[in-house]
């Protein structure tokens, strides 16, 4: 079973929920797709780390062969090429590695070169397999890293929790493509509601079964609860606003390892599993 944990903005408890779900599931896999700021490993402190580089293919020009015909410049719809005083400049941070320019150059002046954009670290933390993607700073797109991360878990049978990048851009869509269920984490503030509405749009667009976890919940009138009932969204759980939980979390500890919070997260996991099973029944 593959679960994705999403939120419209970073710092809303997305990592808290994903880390603790993977921790209570025990024999599980935690995948950090938040490649610009992967921090799940800070909680798991995995050992036996294996590192792999992730690279993309970018064109390089052989100036002696280039005719200055500009066919490649006109072709590149990402505008990653410029021909200035008959010298071709490649902007690798805009290049999408489509390979088109290399194919069409009439004088074979362009060839592929590997450019490392980040890495994937895999390790073990007790019974949880921890896989994190890291995008080097300055690189435009983490999508190649996400694709690599997901290909690693495509045949995974164990409970897999994917900590998605914040927001609702292409990179998030990529991360939830193959999941069975999306967990949307939101805080009960006006901003929290706005951010929730954005990710909610996204999961609806992809037709993914989903439910909401309210973080920093306090008794009383609640914006998120109202939004959920108006839109008939399941509220999976409410994580209470408690300073104890905040302290555990900011100390980089896994809350579910304490008796008090183990129950909370294992209940959440049970609820989600039930939801997924229910979905499978109603959709087949």
């Amino acid at each position: 079973m593959k679960l994705a944990v999403l939120s419209g903005k970073g710092g809303t408890g997305k990592t808290l929920v994903s880390v603790n779900l993977a921790a209570v599931a025990k024999n599980s896999v935690y995948v950090d797709c938040d490649v610009e700021e992967p921090n799940g490993h800070l909680f798991f402190k995995p050992v036996e780390i294996k590192k792999e580089k992730v690279s993309i293919k970018i064109p390089v020009v052989d100036e002696d062969l280039c005719l200055g015909c500009r066919k490649c410049v006109d072709f590149c719809k990402f505008n990653a090429l410029a021909a200035i005083i008959n010298k071709l400049i490649v902007f690798d941070d805009i290049c999408h590695s489509c390979g088109g320019c290399i194919m069409l150059c009439p004088s074979h002046a362009l060839t592929e070169m590997d450019k490392v954009i980040g890495e994937i670290n895999s390790g073990i933390s007790e019974k949880v397999k921890v896989i994190s993607g890291i995008l080097n700073t300055g690189e435009a797109s983490g999508i190649p890293i996400i694709k690599e991360l997901l290909s690693k878990i495509s045949a995974e049978e164990k409970m897999t929790v994917i900590d998605c990048p914040p927001g609702s851009a292409c990179i998030v869509m990529e991360s939830i493509r193959d999941v069975d269920y999306c967990i949307l984490v939101a805080e009960p503030t006006v901003f929290g509601l706005h951010n929730l509405a954005l990710v909610y749009q996204l999961v609806k667009l992809f037709n993914k079964p989903h439910g909401v976890v309210i973080n920093k919940w306090m008794a009383g009138e609640n914006l998120i609860e109202r939004f959920c009932s108006d839109n008939q969204i399941t509220v999976l759980d409410k994580i209470p606003f408690e300073s104890e939980l905040g302290t555990i979390n900011s100390d980089g500890e896994i809350a579910a390892k304490s008796e008090k919070y183990y129950g909370l997260f294992s209940e959440l996991l049970k609820t989600v599993v039930k939801e997924v099973e229910h979905e499978t029944v109603t959709h087949s």
């Binding site: 719809k77 990653a80 200035i84 005083i85 400049i89 902007f91 927001g167 990179i171």
Partner: protein, 122 residues
């Protein structure tokens, strides 16, 4: 000598466009003949890399000077391969800015902003 200025509209009284890559037009002014033309910026509507393409268009117009409120790192990289000089526009119309340049009143632009691509994660 040729001067290029990003323009919102095809009139000299128009303000200098706040964006370089996404400006609808460039005004190309020849200082010796004191004549100018508006050219279309084909990069304005491109989904990404507008700065690079707009810089290509400006270089292809044989401009020696660019007057613009801002300029991205990638466009600056294109210009670095040429002799083109970049000046920072001041408030006012395109005509005001040409006059200001001629009176040596414009400062060199040497701060370039990072690309906006990637934000939104394409």
């Amino acid at each position: 000598m040729k001067i290029a200025i990003p323009a919102d509209e095809k009139v000299l009284a128009s303000e200098v466009c706040m964006s370089f890559g996404r400006a609808p037009y460039f005004y190309i002014y020849e200082t010796t003949t004191k004549m100018g033309d508006f050219i279309e910026n084909a990069a304005a509507s491109s989904p990404g890399g507008a700065g690079v393409k707009a810089a290509q268009i400006v270089v292809d117009s044989h401009a020696d000077i660019l007057i613009t409120p801002r300029c991205g790192e990638n466009a600056a990289e294109v210009f670095k391969a040429t002799k083109l000089e970049i000046y920072k526009s001041t408030l006012g119309s395109i005509q005001n800015n040409i006059d200001a340049y001629m009176d040596n009143k414009l400062a060199v632009l040497d701060q370039f902003h990072a690309g906006f691509h990637g934000v939104g994660g394409n």
